[in-house]
């Protein structure tokens, strides 16, 4: 069990280290900590549902010629906002990049960037799903007591404190 917890903690830390997630994710964790069990997972569920649909729509718009840059941009902007809200750092950066290319008229470049975005999004989803799966495993009965780190260990060299509450 302890191993599992450790594993979970490390996984979480890696998210930040790799900048897949940013401080905003930590904010969500804090909110959960304050008496809102499963909050993070709920939010992520909503996010992935919405963003997956949105990505499909964007893909369609991008692949259909002639593309409507304004429309595509509007959708990308939306995706950017929601990704930022959950702290999906890399995803958001990819969105920004794609937007710039669309705006610049570089259709090919935009398409390529979009693919990258899709991949990153899928990657994030897989990782988080695994993460929460493990969390559930670690604390099956008490979802409320999911280990929420006391602080986010970011790359700004904060002392790494892998404290995690026990289930």
């Amino acid at each position: 069990m302890e191993n599992l917890r450790q594993q979970i903690a490390e996984m979480r830390q890696s998210f930040f280290d790799e900048e897949i997630l940013d401080k905003q994710f930590y904010q969500l964790e804090l909110l959960e900590k304050r008496g809102n069990p499963n909050f993070v997972e709920e939010v992520l569920t909503v996010y992935f549902r919405e963003s997956t649909t949105l990505l499909q729509t964007i893909e369609q718009a991008i692949e259909t010629e002639p593309i409507e840059p304004v429309k595509v941009d509007r959708m990308l902007y939306k995706l950017k906002g929601s990704s930022a809200n959950i702290g999906a750092n890399k995803v958001r950066n990819n969105v920004t990049k794609t937007r710039q290319l669309v705006e610049g008229g570089n259709l090919e470049g935009a398409k390529a960037a979009f693919q990258e975005l899709r991949n990153e999004h899928a990657n994030l989803r897989a990782k988080l799903e695994l993460y929460f799966q493990q969390l559930r495993q670690a604390c099956p009965a008490e979802t409320a007591s999911r280990p929420v780190p006391a602080e986010v260990i970011l790359h700004d060299a904060r002392p790494g404190d892998h404290r995690s509450r026990s289930c």
Binding site: Q27, R34, V46, R74, Y77, K80, G81, A84
Partner: protein, 682 residues
């Protein structure tokens, strides 16, 4: 999937809160329990915000569609303390929502967006948002949003308190403007430039703060005049906001301000042409003094202007201002252009209308804010005046005549001329001759706007709508009409209409009810009698009081109006004061009192005149208007901006409209025949 689907919204009271506004216990816990409405089309964001706000112990309601949010807000005007909205939403632009809320409910609104571009943030400022948050929003940013609520309330109180003296009218108007402006957002700075210098400072400081009431453009008479001049120069067909803006060359004015104002103006013109004439009336000689008065228009004063304008005397611009005010006010009714009632129309109207003498002034009583065109262009023909008077009497029914005159066409004079309350009525009507405009007033006690102020007296409360079609009959015919907007204040729901503020312009609560079709609309309103809505609310005074008070407006053809200027006490005998029960008028802060004041000031028997900021103005206004009738008088009265005279009718209207969020009883539609009330009792 929306956390909150279209129509639903989930109200989540904060766990610890559960307090209700006004609940003493809750107050202790403030800001806990603050009622926040969150609008965002992104469900993820909505979910997070809700959680964060709940963590801050606020009572959160989330909504994913702007229209749903508006519905909710409308259904329960006092149900929320603050609104947080996203900028980019599919069904409605966040700024549009912001404007609506500002116009209708005047709640503090915080904008949010992932977009942190300077221009977007600036747009938020100019549209009146009290803050702008960049997404992703952090809980720390939300913790302090209660400050905006407090700040806004404080400012409102300040405005409220200030609406006192007529002198303050200006200032008051300004403040009220700030408080309840509904005009397009604009920076306060801009406003201050419009305002009188003495107010400028105040405005400046207030407007600068983003937390102040959303700075909105106040279409003062002058400004409106400039606008109209520009439009005329370009040609109504070719007048595009951009060009108008360039021609006007007013610093701080944005294209959007002009665009929205233009829209209103166009509607106004349309109405006018339907009624009788042409929009040119608007530009007709307005009573110059009006300018001051209408400035803020927020209060009835603006309305008065309209009326005055209607009489043709009022410069189209004033009316416009009034209209604007009225427009602004009536639940954001856009475009209620205060139709200036052609004098012609007014006059024709008069006869039927002026029933004042006979009837009672009822109209005045109505809260209808009669837009007394106090300053209504004096060109009212005597006959008309007389007519007005009579009608004024029956003003209570104000809608009267305005409506009746078909000609007047719906232009209900935004200025709710509170047709002198019944009491005064009698008097007013007496004089059929224009010259008697003043006379009219006197008996009536109602400010008979000799200037054919077509007050669209919309009967009471809620008349707001009525006012709409301002068919101003420039001459309030009198009598009661003048119960202008004094009521505004009261009527206005919570708007701090400076009724009192509007100097001289008895701004019938902003509701300049321009009745589109006078006929139809005015019906209700004219009957002021019933106690103007404005008044009712304001001072609860009886409409009766109004009569007198408003009537103060009855200017004697002679200079009474001059008296009005600023003298609160004008006791213009002639005017209305007759029966004023003055108390009311005075009491009304903001509200119509202002108007009534003006009117009454002429003979303000009770001294309301004084109190009424507006009264003063009214008188002035009326005076101005009446002056016309007589020929001049009042021009001086303008100190208080109440002078509807100079306001382009439109200005007035718009000002009124704008100012008056609450469509105050200004619903009265009076068709004033351009009678100018000479001595509007202060």
């Amino acid at each position: 999937m929306n956390l909150s689907s279209g129509k639903e919204y989930i109200s989540t009271a904060s766990s610890s809160a559960g307090w209700k506004a006004g609940d003493a216990a809750a107050a202790d816990q403030f800001p806990a329990g603050l009622r926040v409405l969150v609008v965002d089309d992104d469900p993820t964001c909505l979910m997070i915000l809700e959680k964060m706000l709940r963590t801050c112990l606020y009572a959160v309601t989330k909504c994913s569609r702007a229209e749903t949010a508006l519905l909710m807000l409308r259904e329960n005007k006092n149900g929320f303390d603050i609104v947080i909205s996203d900028v980019h939403m599919p069904d409605m632009d966040g700024f549009k929502l912001l404007e609506h809320i500002g116009l209708e409910m005047d709640l503090p609104v915080i904008m949010m967006s992932a977009d942190d571009g300077k221009h977007v943030v600036m747009k938020g400022v100019t549209h009146g948002a009290c803050d702008y948050l960049i997404k992703p929003v952090r809980i720390e940013a939300l913790k302090n949003i209660w400050q905006h609520v407090v700040r806004k309330r404080r400012n409102e109180w300040r405005d409220f308190e200030q609406s006192g003296s007529v002198e303050e009218g200006d200032r008051l108007l300004k403040q009220s403007d700030d408080a309840d402006y509904s005009s397009s957002a604009n920076e306060g700075n801009w406003k201050s430039s419009k305002r009188r210098k003495d107010d400028e400072d105040e405005t400046d400081e207030r407007d600068d703060t983003s937390t102040l009431k959303k700075p909105r453009v106040v279409w003062s008479v002058e400004l409106h005049q400039q606008f109209v001049a520009a439009v005329n120069q370009l040609g109504i067909d070719k007048a595009v906001p951009k060009k108008i803006l360039e021609l006007m060359n007013v610093p701080g004015l944005t294209r959007e301000n002009v665009a929205s104002h233009l829209q209103k103006y166009r509607l106004y013109l349309r109405r006018l042409s339907g009624v009788s004439q042409h929009p040119s009336n608007l530009n007709s000689s307005f009573m110059s003094p009006q300018e001051a008065v209408f400035g803020p228009l927020s209060s009835l004063n603006g309305l008065d202007l309209q009326t005055l304008a209607a009489t043709g005397q009022l410069p189209a611009q004033s009316l416009a201002t009034l209209q604007a005010a009225g427009l602004g006010r009536s639940a954001g009714k856009p475009g209620i252009p205060m139709p200036f009632v052609d004098q012609r129309d007014i006059f024709s109207f008069e006869n039927p209308k002026l029933r004042f003498g006979e009837g009672q002034q009822q109209h005045v009583n109505n809260n209808k804010q009669m837009n007394l065109l106090h300053g209504i262009p004096t060109t009212m023909e005597p006959k008309q005046l007389a007519g007005l008077h009579h009608t004024a009497q029956s003003m209570g029914n104000m809608n009267m005549q305005v409506a009746s005159n078909g000609s007047q066409s719906s232009q209900n004079i935004p200025l709710l001329m509170q047709m002198a309350q019944p009491q005064a009525r009698g008097q007013v009507i007496n004089d059929s001759s224009l010259g008697h405009a003043t006379r009219l007033l006197s008996p009536m006690g109602q400010p008979i706007l000799s200037n054919g102020i077509a007050a669209n007296v919309s009967t009471k409360t809620g008349i707001q709508e009525n006012v709409r079609a301002p068919s101003y009959n420039p001459v309030l015919q009198t009598s009661s009409m003048l119960n202008f907007p004094m009521n505004h204040a009261s009527e206005l729901p919570g708007n701090s209409f400076p009724l009192g503020t509007t100097p001289g312009i008895p701004s019938l609560t902003p509701k300049v009810a321009f009745q589109e079709d006078v006929n139809s609309d005015s019906k209700g309103s004219v009957g002021f009698m019933p106690s103007y809505d404005i008044f009712n609310d304001l001072n609860q005074h009886k409409p009766q009081n109004w009569e007198l008070q408003n009537i103060g407006m009855t200017f004697d053809a002679s200079q009474h109006s001059n008296n009005l200027q600023g003298n609160h006490n004008h006791s213009q005998p002639v005017l209305v004061q007759q029966g004023f029960s003055s108390g009311q008028v005075n009491g009304q802060n903001k509200s119509a009192t202002v108007v009534s004041k003006a009117i009454f000031s002429a003979g303000d028997s009770t001294g309301h005149a004084n109190a009424q900021n507006g009264n003063q103005h009214l008188n002035s206004l009326l005076v101005d208007g009446t002056v016309r009738v007589k020929s001049e008088t009042v021009a001086d009265a303008t100190p208080t901006n109440l002078y509807p005279d100079h306001f382009g009718q439109e200005d007035l209207m718009s000002a009124l409209l704008k100012q008056q969020d609450v469509v105050a009883p200004a619903e009265h539609e009076f068709d004033f025949d351009g009678y100018s009330l000479d001595n509007i009792p202060e």
